[in-house]
């Protein structure tokens, strides 16, 4: 079983140049891994400082202005430079061509350009945040961001604008790849759900991101030229900015969560040794979420002064978008029924996802209800809700996928017990961090304040204590995954008994993916007495 000098994409070429100029989707995925880990660390550092500050009721870690810059930095980095590219650009890049039996994405050079745009945008934004920071919050609300905010708004907004093109080009590449590069026999209903989810995500990337780009351009024009577009002082309409911003930024939430749902749909059948329950429903729910997700942005503006009838319509549509999400949760759960369940690390992360996403989704229904939303708008209830979706959901899914595909990506096995420990630690740390924030918000603690009345302190202390556990849960994988590269056992081609095409090539895969284009003969997730029936018969 020992083959030390087997040729793979990792050693097909060597040297820094071969990495920075690569057009291999698998290598570009690793470039993204490096970038995303870097930005996750910066965003996490800001979060750590925020939680430290909030242990005591008075402000003691720098000025209120410094605190404003901290939460802005946390939001901007985490949203645009971690969550949005996280799963699609790393695991999507790596496994989608493998899953559909292709040799690469449709446009490999464009793929590399996407990475450079992402890194350039990220560095520009980080430079703005380090040069003095910005204090608008990640939403850049008008007229605050053009008239009152201090700092390097122009530079930060420009960085986000540049990174937006990375999103657009990645989405475009995935759409074309899924449409045109599927292997013979890989029909739409034989695609693994992860491919469908990433496809739905790509539709949002391509159709929503340009609206953000234009909105940011108009914001820049106003801030630079001082001519009214959004600012009431100049005759503009600040609500227009909110409409345009959320027209992108609400679908952006689905950009973050849909790929995670795709990962969970891969992991659950494999570790239950069973067909995914209701494949067609899961698939069409992804598309439904992407479509309805474009029509709910107004629920961010219930107290902003939009028309009541508009609010009613947005409230109804926000309830509606919860339906396909709920269907997925039921389908994952039903898949477990009478399954041959194994509790490996990816499955533990998947269980964490299902539980936390359910809480995040249900509290989303609270917020879709007009009277409750008026009560808890801009409180920690909202903060807790979206962290259950974006951290409990999206980040758990990220770690589930990372652990699931790690043996394929690196050709090495990680220490399973440490991985399970980290998964359980992250789950408990997460709940201790964010569940108290629901209570805080319900009691009336507003978000984005450095100091607060002493009666809230107990909940903040609980939350900060949880954050320290969560931090360990996130830091542990860095160590044991790095260790596995050096010392881990060599991974077989299909360590989890999965059925997808990516598991029928060696670990790590050869540079050209498939020596012969595979012929796909059956749908994914087929098991016979718990034994996997591979999607492709290979000779």
């Amino acid at each position: 079983m020992h083959a030390p000098h087997r040729s793979s994409y990792l050693n097909a070429e060597i040297g820094l140049r071969s990495w920075l100029l690569t057009t291999d989707h698998k290598r570009i995925a690793l470039l993204y891994f490096a970038g995303i880990t870097f930005f996750f660390a910066i965003g996490g550092l800001a979060a750590t400082l925020i939680r430290l500050e909030l242990i005591t009721p008075q402000g003691d870690l720098g000025s209120p202005d410094f605190y404003n810059r901290l939460f802005t930095m946390h939001g901007v980095i985490m949203v645009w430079f971690f969550l949005i590219p996280s799963i699609p650009a790393t695991m999507g890049n790596f496994v989608i061509p493998l899953m559909i039996g292709a040799r690469d994405l449709a446009f490999p050079r464009l793929n590399l350009l996407s990475w450079y745009l992402y890194i350039a945008g990220g560095l520009i934004t980080v430079a703005a945040l380090l040069l003095g920071g910005i204090d608008t919050g990640w939403t850049f609300y008008e007229p605050y961001s053009t008239f009152y905010a201090t700092g390097y708004i122009i530079l930060a907004v420009f960085g986000i604008f540049v990174a937006g093109f990375s999103s657009i080009l990645t989405g475009l590449n995935f759409i074309v790849t899924v449409h045109k590069l599927r292997a013979p026999g890989m029909t739409w209903y034989r695609l693994p759900v992860f491919v469908w989810s990433t496809y739905a995500t790509s539709l949002i990337l391509v159709l929503a991101t340009p609206v953000l780009a234009m909105t940011l351009l108009m914001l820049l024009a106003e801030r630079v030229l001082h001519v009214g577009i959004f600012s009431p002082q100049l005759g503009g309409d600040p609500l227009l900015f909110q409409h345009m911003f959320w027209f992108y930024s609400h679908p952006a939430v689905y950009i973050m969560i849909l790929p995670s749902m795709g990962v969970i749909s891969e992991v659950v059948p494999v570790f239950a040794g069973k067909r995914l329950f209701g494949y067609e429903f899961v698939v069409w729910c992804s598309i439904a979420i992407a479509a309805i997700g474009f029509l709910v942005w107004g629920h961010h503006m219930f107290v902003a002064g939009q028309a009541l009838y508009a609010s009613l319509a947005f409230s109804f549509l926000s309830y509606l978008v919860a339906v396909p999400s709920a269907i997925k949760v039921f389908n994952w759960t039903a898949t477990l029924h009478e399954g041959w369940i194994r509790f490996d690390a990816p499955m533990l992360y998947a269980f964490g996802f299902i539980g936390l996403f359910t809480i995040g989704g249900l509290t989303g229904l609270f917020l879709a209800a007009l009277p409750i939303d008026v009560h808890v708008t801009d409180t920690y209830f909202v903060v807790a809700h979206f962290h259950y979706i974006m951290v409990g959901g999206a980040v758990m899914g990220y770690f589930a996928g990372l652990h699931y595909w790690w043996p394929k990506i690196t050709g090495r096995c990680y220490p399973e017990y440490w991985a399970r420990f980290a998964a359980i630690l992250a789950f408990f740390g997460f709940n201790l961090t964010f569940f108290p924030q629901f209570i805080l918000g319900y009691l009336g603690m507003p978000r984005r304040y450095q100091s607060y009345p002493p009666e809230f302190q107990i909940w903040h202390v609980l939350s900060s204590a949880g954050a320290s556990i969560l931090a360990v849960g996130y830091a542990l994988p860095l160590f044991y995954l790095f260790w596995s590269i050096l010392k881990g056992a060599r991974a077989p081609a299909n360590p989890w008994n999965a059925t997808g095409l990516e598991w029928s090539v060696s670990s790590p895969p050869p540079a050209e993916n498939f020596a012969v284009t595979p012929a796909v003969v059956r749908p994914p997730y087929q098991y016979d007495q718990g034994k996997p029936c591979m999607q492709a018969d290979h000779g």
């Binding site: 292709a102 040799r103 690469d104 994405l105 449709a106 446009f107 490999p108 657009i168 989405g171 475009l172 590449n173 759409i175 074309v176 449409h179 045109k180 590069l181 391509v206 159709l207 929503a208 991101t209 340009p210 609206v211 780009a213 234009m214 909105t215 351009l217 108009m218 024009a221 030229l225 001082h226 001519v227 009214g228 577009i229 100049l234 005759g235 503009g236 309409d237 227009l240 345009m244 027209f247 050209e512 284009t517």
Partner: protein, 211 residues
Amino acid sequence: MADEALSFQFATPVQQREAVTLGMWAFLATEVLFFGALIAAYFNYRIWFGAEFVAAAQMTKVVLGTTNTAVLLTSSACMAMAVTSFEAGSRRRPTLWLLATAVLGLAFIAIKGFEYSLEYGEHLVPALNFDLARHGGVAEIFFMFYFCATGLHALHLLIGIALVTWLAIWIGTGRINRGGSTTRLIGLYWHFVDVVWIFLFPLIYLAGRNG
């Protein structure tokens, strides 16, 4: 998008042609949403400030705008001829049609530049020399949209002119094979830039001019 040879990720030339075509359409979908956001914002104020916007629109140079519409539509016709004659196998004719396309594109830019200079003379350029006392704040918002929209359109057109010129040289010197998609894709892009103008022209120039 080298289309002379079959790139390694594709199995057949047909697959490659379909993929690059879909890629261009997806890119144009992005562009539609990009301009669409600006036009949506314009509509917001067009409805809100109806009368003032109509008054501001009277200050646009409708004769020059109409001339430019004709110039741009003609350029698209030339582009269509270039694509057809290229696919019919000719080398000289698509080169000439492409040069005509580029020249008409440049004519559009020249007329647009002349128009901008007239507007500069009338103190209609926001942030540069806008005469608030004479024209009013709403007119400034109108002209902000005018310069943003036509400016971004002109930028797209300049990129198109560069692409078309490059393509003319490459076809003229025989460096592009007949089966390739590049000509058709650049054609799609050119027509898209034309269609954007078809929307901008009535929105900006014809507001309130119907009697």
